[in-house]
Symmetry: C4
Subunit: 199 residues, 4 copies
């Protein structure tokens, strides 16, 4: 199976998730700057989740750029990832409308953790199909970020119960780690004699 | 007509349906694990409908991968399928927000039944256009699952009035039957000398 | 400019419109068949608008299948059509939640009329760019349906004030006229020596 | 990296934003023309934002039509633009549901200004990657409109506090400036010997 419909469907779902969160931004009754300031926690949580979904889209885009064909198992591993991502708007709302209390903040981290594991599973499914000498295997390499993130999420979940802002700070940290450009796939694609086949 | 816009439009509609259901998940007022537990029936119904829409997307993807061109009749058979699928979020909400009472649970099954029949109709329309020696005809084969599902849905609809959980159990069973990988199309595509034409 | 992004964007907007209307279907409080029956006018209006948006998508798909390149003017003529279509969910809700009173029913017809004129304008813009000997000109031909529809919409708008059901009946009639398969484009595409270029 | 998934994702997000605003149009309780007239400010603000998002989509479409490949930095510059555009429905609602008071009207202008700067940044990122002799550099040229718009937005933001309608008038003026067809890219594409590579 070629990868184009898988990419189109994932693009669609992530595009919808990233914009659905705007619906969580309730239009304030009053028309003052103070009223907008009251929406600030919700806005900041929206920015964080926007960045997270952007990171997932970006990494998904890069990963599938070095894959040519996918099997039925990959379609389900991909849907599994999309499922956890689809819970992000709900958790963003629960966490931010209540000013980041411990339980919703921890639950937000649990969904991030589950999404990270689902991404890891999707990557592993693709790697098994492509083989250890594939472009994808070269591009993924040691995958330090992918292995560090779940540990940090667990830390963030635990810290949410100590101090809510410590939990949020860890989530922001993980996002920043991923925002630093990761040139692995681009380097591999550029070095490839005939350019990328899929993507 | 090539199949690409049909696939893109269907991908779009199914991607939206699968994410719209997240809007049904009301952010709880309280910020305790107990409050999240109160949302559990809604969450589980969301998982079930997510899996069903995933199955339809997956099967749709596989079916159109062995089809090269479509006629105007296929476009309408496809819209007819999308219409029934578009009622899934509404029924999911009605069923789960009220803790799975008999009538909404049966109505959920009726929509699943109608979607299954619409899928069968779409498949038949494509088969008639492609002919009995086509890749599609080989890939569909005896279509045991496609013939068994409507019978099970009828059983589930009836059982909803006896015991709500029996009805839900049958719907879960049908989803599990479809989740078991179906290698027919992939086998046909792999064996084809020149790979898939469309898809 | 090639037509692919125009088609992808239009597919996206129409796919969203067709599914957004599901959000208008409020989950009934009660869980009886009677409660579902109370939603029946809303459901029927949803079916009508679903069919209308399906017709527009179908015709848009056929029209652009015989067009190779588009200019900036076409992009705006297309956005103008999408604007009027984007008002359909709003009018569907206003009309059906209030049991089809005269003003909303007439307003629904006015939006249908505006969408029909916008489609006609888009078609004219494309025809001017393609020339009178183009495939598109052959495919459009005399365009009897396109000329009849606005007249019928005006009739429906007027009749809404006499008897609401007469107005609705005219809108249903126009939809039925368009549902009858229109083989013009498919015939032209099939007869073309090298198959469709775009699409 | 080829540009197709970037374009598909951006198309998806902009298509959703442009249609999400319809959800802000609350169905009036009453069924008279007067009730619809009460929704007029909301409708007009919707038209303005629809045109703005249409302009962004149109310009984005043109800009990427002369670009062949994108890097990871471009993906983030693009997400940054989409972030500011995603706030448009929220600001449209805040501004129009309250009949265009100063603060929300100024805030609407601030978001338009931020989106314009984000677009400028995306363009600069692409220009740096493509080089000064690229098609894109020729197409962008002196970019008079791109440089004038931020100045006008600042003017509009300031005027919102003097008289709300002056602020809105400036925003309408900027939209009109952009609506005037901009043939630069099309001219470049047409003059190119082998037609556009990407797009």
């Amino acid at each position: 199976m070629p990868t184009d419909r898988l990419e189109a469907f994932s693009d669609g779902v992530i595009a919808i998730l990233i914009t659905i969160m705007v619906l969580e931004l309730h239009v304030p009754e009053e028309t003052t700057w103070a009223a907008l300031r009251g929406e600030l926690p919700v806005l900041l949580a929206y920015v964080l989740s926007f960045v997270y979904l952007g990171i997932y889209w970006n990494n998904h885009h890069h990963m599938l750029a070095v894959v040519d064909r996918v099997s039925g198992g990959v379609l389900w591993a991909n849907l599994h990832l999309l499922f956890w991502l689809s819970l992000v708007p709900f958790l963003t709302g629960w966490m931010s409308e209540n000013d980041f209390p411990p339980v919703p903040t921890a639950a937000y981290g649990i969904v991030l953790l589950a999404a990270a594991l689902a991404y890891y599973l999707l990557q592993a499914t693709l790697l098994r199909a492509c083989g250890p000498d594939s472009l994808l295997a070269t591009a993924v390499g040691r995958d330090a970020k992918g292995k560090l993130s779940p540990v940090l999420y667990c830390l963030g979940i635990g810290l949410s119960f100590v101090n809510r802002w410590l939990g949020v700070a860890v989530y922001v940290l993980v996002a920043l780690i991923w925002l630093v450009p990761d040139r692995r796939v681009e380097r591999v694609v550029t070095n490839r004699p005939d350019g990328p086949v899929a993507g």
